[in-house]
C-alpha cells in the first residue's frame, strides 16, 4: 500500500492501514467521525533509529504527548552516549536560537505598532509601513557608513588644511565666499534653514565644505577625496544589495513554484483570515475586506470570460479607445514636464532675490512638481477607469503612469540644472570657457545641486505635515460633526497605499541623487521618515476609514521594491554622469583640482605598491575578466536549469498525486466488493468478528 510523505508531520494520522489503529479506537461512538489521534506506540517504530522527533511538532493533545515523552524517556538507556550528546547539543542550540529570536524581536523597530496596524487595517496598509521601516533602517545604516568614512575623518583632519595647486589664470574660478556678509537680519536664519543657504551652506552638510586633504604619516595615511568617492559608490552598491536581498524572499516563492500562483481563490479562502485581529470593528472590517476581495475577483473572472467572448469589431473599438487614452495620458505627462522645466528655468534666473519672494522663487520648482504629482495621478486614475481594464490591471497601469511621472519630473529638474551649470553642454564657450562650468552663477555648483535636493526633501516633509494638520484633521472633524449630504459624499479619508508608496520612492530617489553633493542627506531622510511614520500612523488611526480595495501584501511588497529600483537606476545615472563628465568646482570641495571626480582613483592608484598595482591591473585585464564572465554565465545557467527542474518536479508530483487519488478510488471499490462478498458469506449479527473485517470497514469509512 502507499504511504504518505514521511517528512510531513501529519502522516501518522493517516496510518489507516495499521491494524493497531483498530484497537486504539476505544469507543465506537466516534463513527463516522474521523479520529485524529494516533496511538502513542506508533511513534516508537519510526523513532527507533536516529534522533527522536521533537515533541512539540506532534499534533496531539498534551496528555498523549506526555505519554510519548515517557515512552521516549524509557528508551534512553538504549541510546549511545554520542547520540545523547548530539541530542543535548541540538536542544541547547534550539534553546539558544529561541532566546536569540526573542531578544531580536525586542530590538526590532516598531514591532508592536506594525502588528496593531496590520490587525486593524490589513496586510496592504501594513506593507506600506514595513516598506517605510525598511527605508528608515537603510538610510540610518548608510548614514553610519558615511559618517564613519567621510564625516569623522573630515572633522578630525580639518586642521590639516587643503592642498593648493598653482593655477595661474584661473583665479576667477577659485572665488567662493559663502559666508554671509555684513549685518544679517534675524529671520534670514530661518530662511537659511529652509533653503540651505547662508550659514548652512558652508558646513558639513554640503559638498563644498570638505577639503581635499591627504593625510600621510609614517604609519597612517588617509586620502579624503578617495574616501569620499568610494564611500558614495559603495553606498549605492550597498543599497542595491539590500533591495535585491529583500526582493529575494518574495521572488523566491514565485520562481520556485514555476511562476504560476496556485490560484487566488483557495489562497484567499484558506489563508486570509488574520487570527490576531481583535475587536468587533476590526473583525467586521476584515470580513468586509474579504467579502469585497472575493466579489472583485469573481467579477473579474466573469469580465474576463466576457472579454474573451467579444466579437472582433468590439475588440477593435476597445483597442482604439485604449490607444487614445494612452496618448492622452502621455500628453498630460508631457505638459507637466514642460511646466516643471519652465518653472525651474524661471527659478534659476531669479535666484538672487532675497526675502519672502526670493524664497517663493527658490521653492517654485518643488511647488510645481508637487502640484503635478498631485493632479496628474488623479487624472490618470480617471483615464484608467475609462479604458475598462480588469480591476487589478487598472491599479497597476495607473501606478506605473504615476511612477513614470514622479521620477522623470525629478529628471527634468536635474536636466535644467545641468543646462545651467554646463551652459547647455557647451563647456568650451561663453561663460563656461574659463573653468568648464558656469563659475559666475555657480562658483560651487555641487553645493548648489545639493541645496536643490535638500530643499526637495525638506519641502516634501513640510507639505506632509501641513496636509496632516490643515487638511486631514479638519476633514475628519467636518465629516464627523456636520451631517449634510455633501459631507457624507466626501466621507472620511481613505488611506490609499499606492500613492503613499510613490511618495516614499520619490523621497528616497531624491536622497540617492543628492548624497554625492550633500553627504548628510541620508541622516536627514532617516529622521524625515521617522517623523513621517508617526504622522501617517496618527492619520491612519484618527482620520482614515479603511480602504475597501486591499492589496495582496506579498506581491505588493515586491512591487514596491521594483519601483524603488527604478529610482535607484535614475540616481545611479546621475551619479555616474557627475563623476565622469562634469568638471568639479575649483573653489570648493574635495575634488577641486581634478579634471573630473573619477581621476582621483587613477592618481592614487599609482601611489600603491608595485605588487598591488600589478594585481589590480591583472584583475582589470582581459585575461581575468573574460574567464570570470564565462564562469558567471555558466553559474547563472546552472541556477536557471535548477529552477526549471524544480518547477518540472512540482508539476510531476502534482500529476503523481492525481494518479494516486485514482489508485485510491480503485482500491476502495475493490475493498467494497470484497466486503460485500464477505458479508454475504457470513451470518449477519451486526458486529464484525475478525480484525481483518474491522480493518476493511475502517478503510471503507475513512476513504
Amino acid at each position: 500500500m502507499y504511504d504518505h510523505n514521511e517528512a510531513n508531520g501529519y502522516s501518522d494520522d493517516q496510518q489507516l492501514l495499521r491494524l493497531r489503529r483498530a484497537s486504539s479506537r476505544g469507543t465506537n461512538q466516534n463513527y463516522p467521525q474521523f479520529s485524529w489521534s494516533s496511538s502513542p506506540t506508533d511513534e516508537d517504530e519510526e523513532d527507533s533509529s536516529g534522533l527522536r522527533r521533537d515533541l512539540k511538532t506532534i499534533p496531539m493533545p498534551m496528555a498523549l504527548k506526555r505519554a510519548v515523552r515517557q515512552v521516549q524517556q524509557m528508551q534512553v538507556p538504549v541510546v549511545s552516549s554520542i547520540d545523547s550528546w548530539k541530542r543535548k547539543r541540538t536542544k541547547f542550540l534550539h534553546r539558544l536560537r529561541d532566546d536569540g529570536r526573542e531578544i531580536l524581536s525586542f530590538f526590532t523597530l516598531w514591532n508592536r505598532p506594525l502588528q496593531k496596524i496590520g490587525g486593524n487595517f490589513g496586510g496592504g496598509v501594513q506593507s506600506y509601513f514595513l516598506f517605510l521601516r525598511f527605508l528608515v533602517v537603510l538610510n540610518f545604516v548608510s548614514f553610519l557608513l558615511i559618517a564613519g568614512f567621510v564625516l569623522t575623518p573630515s572633522i578630525i583632519f580639518r586642521s590639516v588644511g587643503s592642498i593648493l595647486v598653482n593655477s595661474t589664470g584661473l583665479e576667477n574660478c577659485t572665488n567662493y565666499d559663502p559666508n554671509p556678509q555684513g549685518l544679517v537680519v534675524f529671520y534670514t536664519y530661518f530662511l537659511d534653514i529652509l533653503s540651505g543657504t547662508g550659514f548652512m551652506e558652508y558646513s558639513y552638510l554640503f559638498y563644498g565644505y570638505y577639503n581635499n586633504t591627504v593625510v600621510e604619516n609614517s604609519n597612517f595615511s588617509y586620502n579624503i577625496p578617495l574616501a569620499y568617492l568610494f564611500t558614495v559608490v559603495f553606498y549605492f552598491a550597498f543599497c542595491l544589495i539590500c533591495i535585491i536581498a529583500r526582493m529575494g524572499t518574495a521572488a523566491r516563492v514565485a520562481v520556485a513554484t514555476g511562476g504560476n500562483a496556485v490560484g487566488n481563490y483557495s489562497m484567499i479562502v484558506f489563508n486570509s483570515w488574520d487570527y490576531g485581529c481583535q475587536g468587533e470593528q476590526a473583525t467586521k472590517l476584515k470580513q468586509k475586506n474579504i467579502h469585497y476581495r472575493l466579489q472583485v475577483d469573481l467579477e473579474e473572472q466573469r469580465i474576463n470570460k466576457q472579454a474573451a467572448a467579444l466579437t472582433p469589431k468590439q475588440k477593435i473599438v476597445l483597442l482604439s479607445l485604449r490607444v487614445f487614452m494612452w496618448l492622452v495620458a502621455f500628453g498630460l505627462i508631457i505638459t507637466a514636464f514642460f511646466c516643471i522645466f519652465l518653472a525651474t528655468n524661471f527659478s534659476q534666473q531669479r535666484s538672487g532675490e532675497g526675502g519672502i519672494l526670493g524664497l517663493v522663487f527658490e521653492y517654485l520648482p518643488s511647488m510645481v512638481i508637487t502640484t503635478g504629482n498631485f493632479v496628474v495621478p488623479l487624472l490618470c486614475d480617471q483615464i484608467a477607469l475609462i479604458e475598462r481594464y480588469a480591476p487589478s490591471t487598472t491599479v497597476i497601469v495607473a501606478l506605473l503612469r504615476a511612477v513614470f511621472l514622479r521620477l522623470v519630473s525629478l529628471g527634468v529638474l536635474l536636466f535644467s540644472l545641468w543646462r545651467q551649470i554646463t551652459c547647455e553642454g557647451h563647456t568650451k564657450s561663453g561663460d563656461c570657457e574659463l573653468c568648464q562650468y558656469n563659475y559666475k552663477v555657480y562658483p560651487c555648483w555641487e553645493t548648489r545641486v545639493g541645496q536643490e535636493m535638500y530643499k526637495l526633501t525638506l519641502f516634501d516633509l513640510l507639505i506632509n505635515i501641513a496636509v496632516l494638520v490643515l487638511v486631514e484633521f479638519p476633514r475628519r472633524m467636518v465629516v464627523d460633526n456636520w451631517s449634510s449630504k455633501l459631507a457624507q459624499m466626501v466621507g472620511r479619508q481613505e488611506f490609499v497605499v499606492p500613492s503613499n508608496v510613490l511618495g516614499l520612492v520619490y523621497g528616497q530617489t531624491v536622497v540617492w541623487t543628492g548624497t554625492l553633493f550633500c553627504p548628510l542627506l541620508p541622516l536627514m531622510n532617516a529622521i524625515k521618515f521617522v517623523i513621517l511614520f508617526y504622522c501617517r500612523k496618527i492619520t491612519l488611526f484618527y482620520n482614515c476609514r479603511p480602504a475597501l480595495k486591499t492589496f495582496r501584501s506579498t506581491t505588493s511588497a515586491f512591487f514596491f521594491l521594483v519601483v524603488l529600483l527604478f529610482g535607484w537606476g535614475l540616481a545611479t545615472v546621475v551619479m555616474i554622469y557627475s563623476l565622469a563628465e562634469i568638471r568639479p568646482s575649483m573653489a570648493c570641495g574635495p575634488f577641486r583640482f581634478f579634471s573630473n571626480m573619477w581621476t582621483v582613483v587613477p592618481t592614487s592608484f599609482y601611489s600603491l605598491s608595485e605588487l598591488s598595482q600589478e594585481f589590480l591591473f591583472f584583475i582589470g585585464s582581459q585575461a581575468f575578466s573574460i574567464p570570470l564572465f564565462v564562469l558567471s554565465c555558466v553559474v547563472m545557467c546552472y541556477f536557471i536549469a535548477l529552477a526549471s527542474v524544480y518547477g518540472k518536479n512540482v508539476a510531476l508530483l502534482r500529476a503523481q498525486l492525481k494518479l494516486e487519488g485514482r489508485d485510491k478510488q480503485f482500491l476502495v471499490k475493490q475493498i467494497a466488493e470484497l466486503g460485500r462478498q464477505l458479508q454475504m458469506t457470513k451470518p449477519n449479527n451486526g458486529l464484525l468478528q475478525s480484525p481483518a473485517e474491522r480493518f476493511y470497514l475502517q478503510l471503507t469509512l475513512a476513504c
Binding site: 504518505h4 510531513n8 508531520g9 501529519y10 463516522p32 467521525q33 474521523f34 485524529w36 515533541l55 512539540k56 511538532t57 499534533p59 493533545p61 498534551m62 496528555a63 506526555r66 515523552r69 529561541d98 529570536r101 526573542e102 496586510g123 524572499t249 516563492v253 500562483a261 496556485v262 490560484g263 481563490y265 483557495s266 489562497m267 479562502v269 484558506f270 489563508n271 486570509s272 483570515w273 488574520d274 487570527y275 490576531g276 485581529c277 481583535q278 475587536g279 468587533e280 476590526a282 473583525t283 467586521k284 470580513q287 468586509k288 474579504i290 467579502h291 472575493l294 469573481l298 473572472q301 501584501s553 506579498t554 502534482r654 498525486l657 492525481k658 487519488g661 485514482r662 478510488q665 475513512a702
Partner: protein, 191 residues
Amino acid sequence: MGTSTSQLSKEDVSEYQELTFLTKQEILLAHKRFVELHEDKKNPPDTRHFRLTMDKIVKLPELQCNPFRDRICHVFSTSEQKDGSLTFEDFLDLLSAFSDSATLEIKSHYAFRIFDFDGDGTLGCADLEKLVNCLTGETDDTRLTSEEMRQLINNILEESDIDKDGTVNLSEFQHVISRSPDFVSSFKIVL
C-alpha cells in the same frame, strides 16, 4: 481538586516548555489569564482536570470576535462530551499551535481541523460554504449570493482538489498553504 494550588510548579512549567512551542513567560501569562477567566477566586482551578466551559473561554478578547472561536474550542478540547470545554493543558495546546514559533505543519494541520466543520476529515462543499460565510460575515448583506458561492466553491475545488474526489483533504490543503508565505504570520494568537 480543591487542595491543589493555583500556582504552577517549576517542573510543570519546564515540562510544558518541552511539550509546546511556548516560552516560560507565555506559559505563566497563559496560566494567569486562565485563572482570571475562571472568575472564582475562592476555588483556584487544578491545572490537569478542571475544565473551563466554552462560553467562558470565548470571553477572551483575543477570541471574542473571531468567527472561528467555536471551532477552535472544539478542535482543542479533549472532553468526552464534545462540548468544547478546555482544560489548562488544552489551552496551552491551543496557544502553542497559534504561537510565533510553531511550525507550518502544525499550523496547517490545526487550520484544516478548524475548517472541517462536520469533522469527517475532509473539506467538502458544505464545509467550504460554512467557511466562506464565516470569513465574509454572517449577516445578509455581507454574504455572497448563492451563485457567487457556487462559482467560488467550483473555483476552489478546481484549484486545490488534485485527486478530483470533490473534497479537499489534508495533503491538498497543505499543498495550497505551503505556497503562501503569509500563513504562518496570520495564523497567530498572542496573549
